[in-house]
C-alpha cells in the first residue's frame, strides 16, 4: 500500500520466422496478484510496448486449455521446458526469460512445430487397430486396477517437454524421445492393443528408437504430468530384448 507500483520484467527470445535469426526483447509489466506467464503474455499482446518504450509486434505463443492438459503452451522458462499456463510469476526468478523449445522447428517467437511427435506416434503405431469390414464384437476385458495404472500413462499430452529436456534428442540424432515410447507401453498394455505388440516393439527397435535413450532421466524429472517415463523405457527395454530373441529364433508368443 502506497509503495511504488511493482512490476515484472520479461526477456523474450523472439524471431519472425523459422529461418530468421532470433533477438531478445525486454518487457516491463505492472504486477498483478497470481499472474502467470500466459496472463503476462496477454498483457504484452494488449499493449505491445517494450522496455525501451518502443511499440513492437505482439509476442506470438501457442495456448489452448490453460489448465495443463492440452500441451500446446510449452516453452522454455528460465532455462527449463514447461507449460507456461502453470508457470506462476510469483514462483519465478526475475527477469523471467522465455524461449521457444528449439529442439523443434520454431514457427515464430514462442510457437514451435511439434509435428515430429505426431509423426513418431504414427511410426510406433500408437493406436489400437479395430477397424475392419465387420463387427469384431467386444474385446477382452481389462482389469480395473490395470486400467487405473494405464490411465497414468494415458495422461501424455504430447507437449514436447520431455524431448526438449532430453540431451539425446537433437539435430545430430533422430531419437524420437520418451513420449512416443511410453505410448507404446500404454498401447501394448491394452488387451486389444497387445494383439499388435510385436509390430510396435519392432518399430521402436528401429532407427531413432528406444536404443538411443542414454538414461539421463531428464524426461521423468521434467514431465508436467508426472508420467513414469523412465519406468516405461526400462519396461520396453525388457520387452524389446525378448522381442529381439523372438525375432531371431522364432516364437509362438509374438502377440501374447
Amino acid at each position: 500500500m502506497g509503495e511504488a507500483a511493482k512490476t515484472v520484467i520479461f526477456e523474450i527470445e523472439r524471431r519472425n520466422s523459422t529461418d530468421e535469426n532470433s533477438y531478445w526483447e525486454k518487457f516491463e509489466l505492472p504486477y498483478r496478484a497470481n499472474m502467470n506467464v500466459i496472463s503476462a503474455l496477454m498483457e504484452i499482446r494488449r499493449n505491445p510496448v517494450n522496455m525501451d518504450g518502443k511499440k513492437t509486434t505482439p509476442v506470438n505463443w501457442d495456448m489452448n486449455c490453460l489448465e495443463e492438459v492440452c500441451g500446446a503452451c510449452s516453452m522454455v522458462i528460465n532455462g527449463k521446458a514447461r507449460q507456461s499456463c502453470t508457470a506462476l510469476v510469483d514462483q519465478l526468478e526475475q527477469p523471467i526469460r522465455l524461449q521457444p523449445m528449439k529442439t523443434f522447428p520454431v514457427v515464430r517467437d514462442l510457437i514451435v512445430d511439434r509435428s515430429r511427435m505426431f509423426d513418431s506416434l504414427k511410426k510406433v503405431k500408437a493406436w489400437v487397430p479395430i477397424d475392419g469390414t465387420h463387427d469384431l464384437g467386444e474385446g477382452p476385458r481389462m482389469p480395473e486396477r490395470k486400467r487405473q495404472w494405464a490411465y497414468e500413462l494415458s495422461k501424455c499430452m504430447t507437449c514436447g517437454v520431455c524431448l526438449e529436456a532430453c540431451p539425446n534428442v537433437n539435430d545430430k540424432s533422430d531419437f524420437i524421445g520418451a513420449a512416443p515410447l511410453s505410448q507404446v507401453r500404454l498401447m501394448n498394455a491394452h488387451p486389444t492393443g497387445s494383439m499388435n505388440r510385436d509390430e510396435r516393439l519392432n518399430a521402436i527397435m528401429g532407427e531413432g528408437g528406444l536404443a538411443d535413450c542414454g538414461n539421463s532421466q531428464n524426461c521423468v524429472e521434467s514431465c508436467p504430468k508426472g508420467i513414469p517415463l523412465t519406468t516405461s523405457i526400462a519396461a520396453l527395454n525388457r520387452d524389446t530384448n525378448i522381442q529381439m530373441f523372438r525375432n531371431f529364433f522364432g516364437s509362438d508368443h509374438m502377440v501374447d
Binding site: 540431451p167 539425446n168 545430430k172 536404443a211 531428464n218 527395454n237 525388457r238
Partner: protein, 203 residues
Amino acid sequence: MDNNREFLMRRLHSLLGVIPIGLFLTQHLIVNHFATQGVEAFNQAAHFMANLPFVIFLEIFVIYLPLMYHAFYGLYIAFTAKNNPGHYSYMRNILFVAQRYTGIFLVVFIAWHVFETRFQVAIGAAEADFNMMENILSNPFMFAFYVLGVLSATFHLANGLWSFFVTWGITVSEKAQRYSTYFTLLVFIVLSIIGIRALFAFV
C-alpha cells in the same frame, strides 16, 4: 524404422562394457593389488597373468576387440549427445554427462597406458614387472594421470553397470533403479579403493 542395426549395436555396446570389459577391469585391479604385498608378490602375479596359456587369444577376444568396439562406438554415442547439465542439474543427468566425459578420457588414458606397458613389452623394450610401474609412477604427473584414469574407469564401470541393468530390463521400477544406484555406488567405492591402494603401493 524396421532397420534395427542401431538397436543391436547399442545392446552389444552395453553388454561388452560389462562382459568382458567390466570383468577384466575388476580382475586387473585385483591382480594389481598384489603390489600392496610387496615386489615379489606383484611380480609373481604379473608373471602368472602374462604366461596364461593362449594369452594372446585371451587378450584379443577378451580385451582388445571388445574394448575397441566399446571405445569407438562409445565415442560416437558421446558426441551425438547435447549435454545440458546446467539447466537440468538432476543427479542422473550429471552422471549421464560424467559417463561421457570419463569415457572420452578413458580412450586417451587406456591408449597411453597400453602403449606404455603392454606395447613396450611386445616390442621387447621392457618387462611387465614392479619396476616398470614404479618408474612410471615415480613421475608425479603420471601418478596423477593414473589416479584419474583408475577413478574414471571405476566410475565408468559402476555407472555403466547401472545403465546396463536398465538397458537389459533388469531394473524397471523407480525403486529398483534407486537400489541399483546404491549398489553401483558401492561397486565404485570398492573398486576405487582397490585400484588406488595398488597405485600407492608403487610409490
